[in-house]
């Protein structure tokens, strides 16, 4: 007789366990909770932005023409060599690249950034955007008030505006919110792209008008919706999480979508915008990842031609939240393993040139294995990137401005962990 497997025994152990929970009872409990949640959210929002009068929905235009069903463009990830190639230097952090360890506990002792970036912990008496549009915004933030999104922008006059998103369902179905992402504010700060379950809505911050663009095929909303502006501001790239893309060993970063804002046409792009750095000249450095292939980087020229980029990351440190500006890319570097001969190595934030060569590495206490809660926020001045990390108490996060070339560091605004921030290009 064949010996039972562990699986057999686990099933045998629960064979006589039966659930008799009544679907009808559960259904009504769920409905009641949904109504209570909506009521609580309304009260919270009213209390939080009581000074904000309800504004009209703005121009709910549907400027984008319906798009043809997108034709998937297969990504072409190269199968990476999962061993470290001693001859490959790209992406490999050496001791010489390491700046002194940054400790969030010392954040308060840093000098404040010379330019006022604003107070980000809560909106300061925001005016409805429709009543007072901006010339351009420097910063966009989305606050999660118990499941309700409050989207605000800081104008270049330093004042806050509140965006009416009441016409758009930002519930991701998983207790979180769609809407703002780190690439949502247009490079010139005049428009905001908010991810929705079925597409993207673009808010013109100079008029408060909105235009919705359907994006067919985005799939499960709980996988998220991430909108990134192309550096030229002509299109919005959409992405979603990979975890709704498969149900076995086929998980991979999905190809993204490009929405042409001139005519609403939607096409696929051969990379996942969430895992790509978009450089000003149109170059894209993209990290392909799949269960079967591991991480493999590819550089796309402004014409769209792709070529493998030999960034060695699999065993030394995975790069996430890559963001580009001019000729620099900064990413959060998550160590996946500690090697005995690299005991000095740490997680944190790394700057690369367009070839993937490491320029500098800022190690950060507790932004270590698997990220540790660190985030790349964006560029605030040429060569200066803002990154966030858990503060001494975990939440709020503290932000740190880092001049990649000189290594100088400054204290930036504090930020609640569930607040999303997007910055215009400096």
């Amino acid at each position: 007789m064949t010996e039972p497997t562990l699986s057999d025994v686990l099933h045998a152990a629960t064979r006589d366990v039966e659930s008799h929970v009544d679907p009808t009872d559960i259904w009504y409990a769920g409905r009641r909770r949904r109504r209570r949640s909506a009521a609580a959210v309304a009260m919270t929002a009213a209390a939080s932005v009581a000074v904000v009068a309800a504004v009209s929905a703005g121009v709910a235009g549907l400027g984008g023409s319906p798009s043809p069903a997108p034709q998937p463009v297969p990504t072409s990830p190269t199968v990476p060599d999962l061993t470290v190639d001693d001859t490959a230097t790209a992406g490999v952090v050496g001791k010489d690249h390491l700046l002194p360890m940054s400790d969030p506990a010392d954040w308060a002792d840093l000098p404040a950034y010379p330019r006022d970036l604003g107070y980000w912990l809560s909106p300061e008496r925001p005016t409805p955007l429709a009543e007072d549009p901006v010339t351009r915004a420097t910063t966009a933030l989305q606050y999660d008030l118990g499941g309700d999104a409050n989207v605000v922008v800081i104008g270049d006059d330093g004042r806050w505006r509140w965006i009416d998103v009441s016409d758009h369902d930002l519930d991701d179905g998983d207790g979180g919110l769609l809407g703002l992402h780190r690439g949502s504010l247009s490079p010139d700060g005049t428009r905001l792209a908010l991810g929705l379950a079925d597409g993207v809505v673009v808010v013109d911050l100079t008029t408060a008008g909105t235009t919705s663009y359907p994006v067919p095929g985005l799939g499960a909303s709980w996988a998220g919706r991430y909108a990134f502006w192309s550096p030229d501001g002509d299109s919005v790239l959409m992405s979603r999480g990979y975890w709704a893309t498969g149900n076995d060993n086929t998980f991979a970063y999905p190809a993204g979508w490009r929405v042409d804002l001139a005519d609403g046409e939607v096409t696929r792009v051969p990379f996942d915008p969430e895992h790509a750095a978009l450089l000003d000249d149109g170059t894209v450095l993209a990290n392909h990842w799949g269960v079967a292939t591991g991480h493999a980087w590819e550089r796309f020229s402004p014409d769209g031609d792709g070529a493998p980029l030999d960034i060695s990351t699999d065993l030394l440190g995975v790069l996430n939240e890559a963001t580009g500006h001019e000729d620099l890319v900064v990413a959060r570097r998550e160590l996946t393993a500690r090697w005995p001969d690299r005991a000095w190595d740490r997680g944190g934030f790394v700057a690369l040139d367009p070839e993937g060569e490491v320029v500098s590495m800022l190690p950060v206490e507790r932004v270590d294995l698997n990220g540790g809660g660190g985030r790349v926020i964006g560029w605030i001045d040429p060569g200066v990137v803002l990154v966030a990390m858990p503060g001494a108490g975990g939440n709020p996060l503290v932000t740190l401005a880092w001049n990649v070339a000189t290594g100088e560091q400054w204290r930036g605004p504090e930020l609640l962990a569930d607040t999303v921030v997007s910055l215009a290009r400096p």
């Binding site: 025994v9 045998a12 006589d16 366990v17 659930s19 929970v21 009808t24 975890w243 698997n370």
Partner: protein, 168 residues
């Protein structure tokens, strides 16, 4: 609004599997029932979004994450071992006896390892899927599964049930 047929069919088809998985996770049927009920209510509240997607995957994530939260708040060993099995370690023959042995063995594991064992060997998820449910890296799943099986190999009653090779 009456319960839609799709929701009723989904829950009727999945409730027992979810409860069995939660029982192995918690070692406590009452707690397991609470976790499954809470997950089902959350699915109901979001049914319009979930019905065409993966409600079971969503419910499973809720069960495991709520239990992790509960366990962290409790700040002690997740469950006590059930009543001791027979001291002469006669091979269990009934499902109830098997359950005692299995739950006692699982109770020796830290919460994370226990969750990985249940997801991989009861729910039959891939490592990647288990990583998604628990919100951890693939490497964590691999290492926790490896360590958990090593620990279970040291549990004499379970070893008697499944044999050492099945725990490799």
């Amino acid at each position: 609004m009456p319960a839609p047929e799709g929701f009723t069919h989904w829950l009727a088809g999945q409730r027992t599997a979810l409860l069995r998985s939660a029982t192995l996770l918690t070692g406590d049927i009452a707690l397991a029932e609470d976790l499954v009920q809470e997950a089902a209510v959350k699915v109901a509240a979001r049914w319009e979004r979930l019905r065409d997607e993966q409600p079971t995957a969503y419910a499973r994530r809720i069960v495991f994450r709520d239990h992790a939260t509960w366990w962290r708040r409790r700040r002690e060993t997740p469950v006590g071992a059930p009543d001791a099995v027979a001291s002469d370690r006669a091979t269990p023959t009934t499902d109830t006896e098997v359950r005692h042995v299995v739950l006692a063995a699982l109770a020796t594991l830290p919460h994370g390892q226990r969750a990985v064992v249940v997801l991989r060997y009861f729910d039959d998820l891939t490592e990647r899927q288990a990583a998604e449910v628990l919100g951890v890296s693939l490497g964590t799943i691999k290492s926790q599964a490896h360590t958990a099986l090593a620990r279970l190999r040291d549990h004499p009653d379970l070893r008697d049930l499944v044999g050492k090779e099945a725990l490799r």
